[in-house]
Symmetry: C2
């Protein structure tokens, strides 16, 4: 086997520039474990201004910068291509060209994997090239490799993740400081945790992409983006956050993929997390993935979801995996080999406790009419908290477990009844 | 390659009996991932009473029980031996006989690994057999495989673990309910979290064994048991637990293995954990390992440290690793291949904040004399909390970082001065 693997990078920005740092810092350890040396030869960048900071950084590690993709993709000496450009195109075309040229590929591109993962996995298999993407979910947390190695022996019941640092930072501000949504967003933008257009984060789309990938690794099922229920944190009210806290819960943007016994259900939404649940204490921009499974029962994997060095560490662990595959003659074996026919759960099989906030004219008779009506529709109350908010009374309810079909009926009835205002409805995790 | 791997078990008690359960529950997934079927043929037990519950359980899975070790160790059809007997002998001799007969070995025996690990690893290498032991540290948490795979690319600065469920349960009782050490121990025994002789747990010895194994995986250094500083939780006072809480810390039995830059330092002791540190919220019998590293920075792995199914899940992940090794023709490759010359840090290179509880006659002049004396010896105060406890005043101090050599001098001076009573001194982690 070769003693040196040559690496070409597509992109050399925030994430990419960490890769040579990690390779340098852990050189001896990587040499012992991988049995080869990784040398970054070239990096594709938008402009190669000789005086730029980028150029200096590349020069320090002996990396040649280029603005032409073919310099990387058609260089016969390059064994592995690392894609850290982001977005769908031209990343997708570049990855396919690399695979078609027999190069191994590493990417951190969750958008691409969630939307075109199966196509790329199939091409890698056909071309007998390695294709890894540990950094695509939860940055520095080694969750994908843990699912395929250590949890290979376990039957997974659900995977719940705080997989978006921006929204977790914002919700921490809203919970701990009582900040409004707008204030929390402005603060996240000021600190660089949120982009100037934060849509992908606050709408839950970024988390959704990660849950699509996690569903594949947990259940061997290739869920498509439109099969995932999604609600972001836009407009989430501080009243709901406060009432949840008084009831013993912390509101978090949770991505869940769960086996209901009748198929899987994948959803991203703000949910109520019990204050003593391990996910409740995951604060600020940190990420965490909680796995409920038959054997281990509950295990959690916590760490940074983004950042130059954490993401680069995951990428270099993929490089080492490629070296192992070459030694073991298992190139072309997909990152996740487990596959099952896809089965999406219907609403009747999805059960959960739910939180409801319902506005009621400040009138005792009407409150008891409301609880009576809900009881009549099969709702049992786990907790009730009445609060006066301005002109109206608000009844905050945590139900006993209901199925989602029943819940939708209840929400329809409430929406049709002018006596009540449905302020919010969120799922409560266990 | 074989389509079936035959397994023999040494021991079929609390841990062992979970292995066939996991193999049955995850049969299809394991078949896809490992590409082979694992069949448990025989299990060595102390007595094979045909009417016993054990016998019925074994019968359900078609496992033959035997009281003769040679029935397992000399059966040419058995490919893998799983040792779940515990203790050093005869487990060690049995494992060596199995390896000498060319069988692959899996064990959950931390005592044995901490004391004789290198000898067994060397024998496995010589005999070209696989030797795995994921279940030996933190039961169901896949921390060893994560260190060798996902953190292979990272330079580890410290590993801090809550790796003993018994003491963590007791400390949770002491913190949350204000229970005394004796009450907490009695409660842990009543619930089966502590044995009737709890010495190994409460003395920190069990945690020490795990830190020896973690040191090998984190730094490639084979630390011997007597190179680890150890203090248990015996006699820990509720006053210290309470004062710590008022200062913003939770007392936990922490195993730490850290790279000081001048060698590694390995220690097990009750320590103060900041209330907002991820380890602080690890409650009851749960385990957790926090890794501080150059690349990822802070990551944490949380789950059950013991129990039938969690431990069995780790064992079956080892079985799958053996199947992978056979396919990849890498049998005999140690679980951890990273090795560095051992270097133990001296006291002067170990720095930390410390908590001191010092009894002082209830006299203002003497309190200021004490703080003056400590200042004179180079102690800077991060936090001070004076409490009256019975006849005396107690000064609870959190220092700014000190090196351990300086601290020892200070403790000697305090011990020699009859005006003060040194009640306790604990490390404060960051």
């Amino acid at each position: 086997m070769k003693k040196q693997l040559n690496v070409g990078m597509l992109g050399f920005g925030v994430v990419g520039s960490g890769v040579p740092q990690i390779l340098a810092e852990s050189a001896e350890k990587i040499r012992q474990i991988a049995g080869v040396e990784f040398v970054i030869k070239k990096a594709l960048v938008r402009s190669a201004d000789e005086t730029s900071e980028l150029m200096k950084r590349a020069g320090r590690y002996g990396i040649e910068l280029t603005t032409k993709a073919e310099d990387v993709l058609e260089d016969g000496e390059i064994d592995v291509v690392i894609e850290v450009m982001g977005k769908i195109e031209p990343a997708k075309s570049f990855i396919k060209r690399a695979m078609n040229a027999g190069k191994h590929v590493i990417t951190a591109n969750k958008d691409l994997l969630a939307q075109h993962g199966p196509e790329l996995v199939a091409l890698a298999k056909k071309q007998q090239t390695a294709f890894y993407y540990e950094a695509s979910v939860a940055g520095g947390i080694p969750i994908l490799r843990t699912l395929v190695n250590s949890l290979a022996a376990d039957r997974i019941e659900s995977v719940m993740g705080i997989v978006n640092g921006t929204t977790n930072y914002m919700l921490t501000q809203m919970t701990q400081l009582g900040a409004s949504y707008d204030t929390a967003l402005a603060e996240a933008q000021r600190l660089g945790f949120a982009e100037s257009d934060p849509t992908n984060d606050v709408s839950g789309l970024d988390a959704l992409y990660k849950m699509v990938i996690l569903s594949d690794f947990a259940y061997g099922m290739e869920v498509s983006v439109d099969e995932v229920a999604r609600r972001g944190i836009e407009g989430l009210s501080t009243d709901v956050v406060k009432a949840s806290e008084e009831l013993g819960f912390i509101v978090k943007l949770i991505g869940i993929t769960e086996d209901t016994g009748h198929g899987i259900h994948v959803e991203v939404a703000p949910m109520l997390v019990p204050a003593d649940h391990p996910l409740a204490s995951v604060a600020n921009e940190n990420n965490s993935v909680f796995v409920k499974s038959f054997g281990i029962n509950g295990s959690m994997y916590y760490g940074p979801g983004a950042g130059t060095l954490p993401t680069a560490t995951s990428i270099v662990s993929d490089l080492i995996a490629i070296a192992e595959d070459m030694k073991a003659d298992r190139l072309g074996t997909p990152f996740n080999v487990y596959h099952m026919p896809k089965k999406i759960a219907d609403d009747a099989s999805i059960t959960s406790r739910f939180f409801l906030a319902i506005g009621v004219p400040n009138n005792k008779g009407q409150l008891s009419a409301l609880t009576g009506m809900l009881s009549g529709m099969g709702v049992e109350f786990d907790q009730l908290l009445q609060k006066n908010q301005g002109e109206q009374a608000v009844l905050n309810i945590v139900t006993y477990p209901l199925d989602l079909k029943t819940l939708r009926n209840i929400l329809n009835v409430l929406s049709d009844d002018e006596a009540y205002i449905l302020l919010d409805c969120l799922r409560v995790i266990e």
